[in-house]
C-alpha cells in the first residue's frame, strides 16, 4: 500500500509539471482560439535562452528577466507577423502556422545557443523527503508549489483585473469584443506574452529535471492528453487533467506495464483521454458546445 501511495504521489507531482505546459496551451486557446502547437518549442526556446545567458556568466535573476523579455518580444512579433495577417482564416491554417512557428523557434534556439545538452541548476534540492514512510521528491514539491502559485496568479488576473475581463470577452466572442472597443491585437500579444512566461517557468523546471535539450519540445506531446482531458478552455481543467494523467500513467506503467511489455507511458494517456472523451466530448471543464444550423 505504501508503495502504491508512493507511485501515486510521484505521478501526481509529475502531473503538475504536465499541467504547467498545458496551461500555456489553454491561455492561448482561450483568448484566440488558436491551438498553439508551438508551446513545446516555446518551452525549449525559453529554457535554452535562460541556460545560454547563465552560461555567459549572467546571474540567475538577470537571466530570468532577460529571457522573459525575449519571450515578450517573441509574443509581439508573433502577433504582428503571424496572427494579424491570418485573422479570419480557418483554425487549421492557424494551427499549421504554429507548426511553422515551432520550426522557426527550434531552429533559432539551436542556431543561437548551439544544440548541445546543458545542465540547469536552480538551487532546488532534489533529495527525497520522508513523510510517514513515503518518499517524496523535494524538487517535485517545489514544482507543484510553483504551478499552484502560477495558477492562483492567473486566476486572479483573469477574474479581477480589467485586462483579464477584456481577455475573457475576447475569448467569448471576437467580434463582440472588438465592437465594444477592446483592442484585439494588444490582447493577443498579451496572451502570447503570458504563455511565454508560463513556458519559461515550465522550461526552467523541466530543464533542471531533464537537462536543457531538444527533447524538451517533446514535453508538449505529454501535455496534449492533459489538455483534452481537462478541456481546451479551462485553466482548472489543465491542472486536474495534469494530475489525472500523471497519476494514471505512473500507476499504469508500474502495474499494467509488466503485463504487456512496458513503455506504455507514451500512449497510455492518449488512450485514457480518448476513452474519456467518448463520455465527455468537451473534456472535464471545457465549454459546452452548442450547435445550430
Amino acid at each position: 500500500m505504501a508503495f502504491f501511495v508512493e507511485v501515486l504521489v510521484g505521478g501526481l507531482l509529475a502531473g503538475v509539471m504536465y499541467s504547467l505546459v498545458a496551461l500555456g496551451f489553454v491561455l492561448i486557446y482561450k483568448a484566440s482560439g488558436v491551438f498553439n502547437f508551438a508551446q513545446g518549442a516555446m518551452v525549449f526556446f525559453a529554457a535554452t535562452t535562460y541556460a545560454g545567458l547563465v552560461g555567459l556568466g549572467w546571474s540567475g535573476w538577470v537571466a530570468f528577466v532577460a529571457s522573459l523579455g525575449v519571450m515578450v518580444v517573441f509574443a509581439l512579433a508573433t502577433e504582428r507577423f503571424v496572427l494579424r495577417p491570418l485573422v479570419n482564416q480557418p483554425q487549421i491554417s492557424l494551427f499549421m502556422a504554429t507548426i511553422g512557428l515551432t520550426f522557426v523557434l527550434e531552429g533559432v534556439a539551436q542556431g543561437v545557443w548551439g544544440a548541445e545538452v546543458r545542465g540547469l541548476e536552480l538551487g532546488i534540492p532534489d533529495s527525497p523527503l520522508e513523510v510517514k514512510g513515503i518518499l517524496i521528491s523535494k524538487f517535485d514539491l517545489v514544482a507543484g508549489a510553483t504551478a499552484g502559485g502560477l495558477v492562483a496568479v492567473l486566476a486572479l488576473f483573469f477574474q479581477k483585473t480589467r485586462v483579464g475581463r477584456a481577455l475573457r470577452a475576447v475569448a467569448d466572442d471576437h467580434q463582440a469584443a472588438l465592437s465594444v472597443g477592446i483592442p484585439l491585437g494588444r490582447i493577443w500579444a498579451l496572451v502570447w506574452g503570458a504563455a511565454g512566461a508560463v513556458a519559461l517557468v515550465a522550461g526552467l523546471l523541466w530543464g533542471s529535471r531533464l537537462g536543457v535539450q531538444f527533447a524538451l519540445t517533446q514535453v508538449a506531446l505529454k501535455a496534449l492528453p492533459v489538455l483534452i482531458l481537462g478541456g481546451f478552455t479551462s485553466v482548472a481543467g489543465a491542472i486536474v487533467g495534469g494530475l489525472i494523467v500523471g497519476a494514471s500513467e505512473k500507476v499504469a506503467e508500474v502495474y499494467l506495464g509488466p503485463l504487456i511489455g512496458g513503455g506504455i507511458e507514451n500512449w497510455f494517456p492518449y488512450v485514457l483521454a480518448l476513452l474519456f472523451l467518448l463520455v465527455r466530448p468537451d473534456g472535464l471543464f471545457g465549454e459546452k458546445r452548442i450547435e445550430r444550423v
Binding site: V82, Q89, S93, M96, G100, F103, G114, N266, Y270, L277
Partner: protein
C-alpha cells in the same frame, strides 16, 4: 486564348460527366501521363527515380488519403503515419506468412487492414470534433509505434522492430530496377488518384463535403453522419496503408517503426495544406513542393554561405527558413498551390488580351 472552353459543347450525359470536361485538360493530362510513363523512365537518372520521384509519388498517395479525410470530409487527423505504418507491416506479414500471395493482392490487403484500424480510431469522431479529434488521433500514432516496436510477432522477431521488405515480383516479373519500381508506384498511384477524383464526385463524396461544411445541417437533410465519417476514415486509411506498403517495399526496403513517426504525419499534413485542401491535384503539388523545397534550400544556402560555419548551423537555418516559408505561404495563399493553378488557368483564358 490558349485555355478557352468556348465552343466546346456537351451534347450527351457522358460528355457532361467526364472527369476532364475541357479538351485542353484532357490533352494536358494525356501529355503528362505520357511523359510520366514513357519519357521519365527512359531519361531520368536512377538517383532521380529512387531518391526523388518514388518518395514523391508515395507521399502524394498518403497526402491524397489525408486529403480525403481532412479536405473532403473535414476531419482533422494527426495519425496519418500510423496508418502508413500499419500498411507497411501488414504487407510484410502477408508476404511472409501467406505463401505465394501475389504482391498486388498483399498491398490491397494491407490497405484493407489499415482501413480497419482507421475505422477503430475513427469511431470517436462522432462524439469528438475539431482539435479534440486531432489530438485523439495522436493516440493511433503513439499506440501503433509502440505496438510494432514491442510486439515482436509483427516484425518476425526482429529485435528492434525493423522489417526488410521481400523482393517484389509480379507474375514472375521481378521489380528490381529503379525504373521498374518507379513504374509500379506510378501505376498504383495513378489508378488510386483517378479513383479518388471519381469518388469525390459521387454521392459519397458529396456527403463528405456536406458533413465537412456543417455536420448538423448534413444530418438534418438525412445524411448518416457516423457512416459517412467512418467511410471517410476507412478509405483515407486504405490510401495511407497502400502508401505505407509502397514506402517500405518500393522506396526504403528496410523499415523501422520510427520511419512512420509524428514528423511524417506532419509532413503529410503540410503537403495537404500547402497543396490545397480538398483537391486531388493539391496532394501531388504539395508533395512535390515539400520534398523539393528542402533540397533547394540546402543548395541555395550552400551557395550563399561557404562552409566555414559551425556544423549543424546550416540545418538549423534550413529549419528556420522552412518554418518561415510555411507561415508566409499560409498568409499569402491560404488555399494552397492548387488555388494558384486555378488562378493561372483563369489568366490563361484571356492571355494575351487584357479583357
Amino acid at each position: 486564348m490558349i485555355y478557352r472552353e468556348a465552343g466546346q459543347f456537351r451534347t450527351t450525359y457522358a460528355a457532361d460527366q467526364r472527369v476532364f470536361p475541357i479538351t485542353q485538360d484532357r490533352v494536358g493530362m494525356a501529355i503528362l501521363l505520357l511523359v510520366a510513363f514513357v519519357v521519365v523512365p527512359l531519361t531520368a537518372s536512377s538517383y532521380a527515380l529512387t531518391a526523388l520521384l518514388v518518395p514523391m509519388l508515395v507521399l502524394s498517395l498518403a497526402a491524397l488519403g489525408l486529403n480525403i479525410l481532412t479536405g473532403y470530409a473535414g476531419q482533422f487527423s494527426l495519425g496519418t503515419a500510423a496508418f502508413m505504418s500499419v500498411g507497411a507491416f501488414a504487407a510484410y506479414n502477408f508476404q511472409l506468412r501467406v505463401p505465394g500471395i501475389p504482391l498486388l493482392v498483399s498491398f490491397a490487403l494491407a490497405g484493407l487492414v489499415a482501413a480497419a484500424v482507421g475505422l477503430v480510431f475513427g469511431l470517436p469522431s462522432l462524439r469528438i470534433k475539431g482539435f479534440y479529434l486531432a489530438v485523439a488521433t495522436l493516440a493511433a500514432q503513439f499506440f501503433v509505434d509502440w505496438l510494432f516496436t514491442k510486439v515482436a510477432w509483427f516484425s518476425n522477431d526482429s529485435p528492434s522492430g525493423t522489417i526488410t521488405a521481400q523482393p517484389m515480383v509480379i507474375a514472375g516479373f521481378p521489380i528490381d530496377t529503379p525504373a521498374r519500381r518507379y513504374l509500379l508506384v506510378l501505376s498504383i498511384v495513378s489508378v488510386l488518384a483517378l479513383a479518388a477524383k471519381n469518388l469525390s464526385r459521387t454521392a459519397t463524396g458529396r456527403a463528405w463535403m456536406a458533413v465537412r461544411d456543417m455536420d448538423v445541417a448534413a444530418e438534418v437533410i438525412g445524411i448518416p453522419i457516423l457512416r459517412t465519417k467512418l467511410v471517410a476514415f476507412g478509405i483515407s486509411s486504405f490510401y495511407c496503408g497502400v502508401a505505407g506498403a509502397l514506402w517500405a517495399f518500393a522506396y526504403l526496403g528496410t523499415v523501422e517503426p520510427q520511419a512512420f513517426d509524428l514528423q511524417r504525419s506532419f509532413q503529410i499534413l503540410f503537403m495537404v495544406i500547402i497543396g490545397g485542401l480538398g483537391t486531388v491535384m493539391g496532394a501531388f503539388l504539395g508533395a512535390a513542393f515539400i520534398l523539393l523545397f528542402p533540397l533547394f534550400l540546402n543548395w541555395a544556402l550552400h551557395l550563399v554561405v561557404r562552409g566555414d560555419l559551425r556544423p549543424g548551423l546550416l540545418s538549423q537555418l534550413e529549419l528556420v527558413f522552412f518554418g518561415a516559408l510555411i507561415i508566409v505561404f499560409l498568409v499569402v495563399e491560404p488555399h494552397g498551390l492548387a488555388r494558384l493553378w486555378q488562378i493561372t488557368k483563369e489568366k490563361l483564358r484571356l492571355w494575351p488580351f487584357p479583357h
